[in-house]
Amino acid sequence: MHRTGELYGQFETMEQQREAASLGMWVFLVTEVLFFGGMFMTYTLNRSTYPDIFGEASRSINLTLGAINTVVLIGSSLTMAMAVWASQVGKKQLVTIFLISTLVLGSVFLAIKAVEYHEKFVEHHVPGFNFSFEPGASIATNAHAQLFFSLYFAMTGLHALHMIIGAGLLLWLIKQSMRGRFTPQYNTPVELVGLYWHFVDIVWIFLFPLLYLIDRH
């Protein structure tokens, strides 16, 4: 592993080496787009089949917490972008500060998500045993509502898993950054983790209207 930012043999210039790294990260993100894409596909299909139940089930999710979380996550993307900028212009202390604020905002997001999950457990809205959408709901209503909540937990759960991995990567970056490793010549890890973090943000940008905002009027 190279740490100091020397040029590898297979590249002609530092610029080329940097571009290759970010291109590789983008290719990985394409696979991630299609990974989440399968879930969005399932969602689209089931929502078009059971539009009314999906609307009803969606209204039972806590909109306020979801909206706060959207702002928190976009805010964390902003601090991440600032960390990338700081590492490129060589402001070493700012890099650490912005990385830590990103980690804090990401943790706030996960904490709020945990509160939302807790609500769903209390309401018996978690698919599986003891699922009950509303008292006296028909078997079909219960089954289709369960479909919505299965998708809700699968999609937000997978998203949360990505956030946890991102938080781990941030911890690693913060450690390196505190040692002053990132310079204008060498900041590829910050840039690539930044790309990953923004991608996770984008997934949430789509999850939020699709899961929280069905027929809210």
């Binding site: 983008w26 299609l34 299909l45 078009s48 702002v71 939020f208």
Partner: protein, 80 residues
Amino acid sequence: MVGTMLTVYAATIDLNRYFSGLNIIVALVIATCKASLVVLFFMHGKYSPKRTQLVIVCSVFWLAIMLFMTMSDYLTRPWS
């Protein structure tokens, strides 16, 4: 970005029932705009080399193929 977030909030809460499905269209258009801003500026998509931009466009294109093909199958099944 926080500003765009607020517009989403306002736009989707309002009564948007001029024709059915307008709500989801508005919601997705706003989400797509926000995502595009993130890709173009936070992820430096605007300043990336052509190769990288091609990869970005490809991901959206492949996703569109999957959604379009599957839905055109399911929505044209009169027997189910």
